[in-house]
């Protein structure tokens, strides 16, 4: 994993989602070190909030990506954002979104890239 890249965002989600999607970013771009992973496994809401808060404070990042709009990580970050309005929360993150961010896009551009990448690709007829 590339280590000379500053942390730009926290990725938080269920199970090993965050570690998994960060490892995919790293495999593709070598830029996985831009992210810190947080898992909600086994944690009460207050503990999730504390983990994300610590990850943001330690890294200096202000962007958080979460996996699910209704997820406990999203809820925790929304609570934090109420008290610390400088946090940008992006939920429903996908690999194309995170790749775009890793490659320099701002959160808005990254979300647009993620949306563009979500599609149904039909198999060729008669194949």
């Amino acid at each position: 994993m590339t280590t000379n890249s500053p942390v730009r965002a926290v990725v938080a989600g269920h199970g090993t989602f965050a570690a998994g999607i960060i490892s995919a970013v790293d495999q593709i771009t070598g830029l996985g070190a831009q992210f810190v992973a947080v898992s909600n496994t086994g944690l009460a809401p207050g503990s999730i909030e504390e983990l994300v808060r610590t990850a943001l404070a330690d890294s200096g990042a202000t962007v958080v990506f979460t996996d699910l709009p209704a997820g406990s990580c999203t809820m925790a970050v929304r609570r934090m954002a109420k008290l610390a309005p400088g946090i940008t929360l992006v939920t429903g993150v996908t690999l194309p979104t995170l790749l775009a961010f890793a490659l320099g896009a701002d959160p808005e551009e990254a979300v647009a890239r993620g949306r563009e990448s979500l599609m149904i690709i039909e198999a060729p007829r008669g194949a």
Binding site: H14, T41, G42, L43, A44, P45, G71, S72, M75, R79
Partner: protein, 163 residues
């Protein structure tokens, strides 16, 4: 009776509830019973944003939930009632005697709690509260997602957090 899921979950509304239970069970409404949330517009908005538009979300105190339970039960849609802790569910059961089954969906790690299941951590006092609930004739079980089998309270209380 459409409202037949009574869940204790310290995360209240989150992925397991909205997606894990909501979609396979076709939940049409959720009832969140929490005295703090019912007094906070901001908290209610937070949870409302986590619920899909086709699912209704009602907020109640223990008192108002006990008053409105017949109304919720008359709703033909499948529904789930949630509390964030055992004490709130126990208070509701005391007011609504025909709650037959209570499911612990998630009580997560905090100081003083011992791991019983992957998703259930309990203090000795919380264990006593669950036993007291069972002693009222309520079936107390643990189940995080619909695809898992319900685990009886007796098995939960001897667990070591590995299941």
């Amino acid at each position: 009776m459409a409202l037949d899921l009574f869940r204790i979950d310290d995360r209240l509304i989150h992925g397991q509830v909205v997606v894990g239970w909501g979609q396979p069970c076709g939940l049409g409404f959720l009832v969140l019973v929490d005295d703090a949330v019912v007094g906070s517009e901001w908290e209610q908005e937070l949870y409302r944003m986590g619920v899909p538009p086709e699912m209704d979300l009602f907020f109640d105190s223990v008192d108002s939930a006990a008053r409105r339970i017949a109304e919720y039960r008359a709703d033909r849609r499948p529904g789930l009632l949630l509390t964030g802790d055992i004490a709130t569910m126990a208070a509701l059961v005391a007011r609504v005697p025909d709650i037959h089954t209570v499911t612990v969906g998630g009580i997560h790690h905090q100081q003083g709690r011992v791991a019983r299941l992957r998703y259930v951590f309990l203090t000795p006092d919380e264990e006593a509260q669950l036993r007291a609930l069972a002693s009222r004739g309520v079936t107390v079980q643990a189940q995080d997602v619909p695809t898992g089998a319900p685990i009886p309270l007796a098995d939960v209380l001897v667990g070591d957090g590995t299941n």
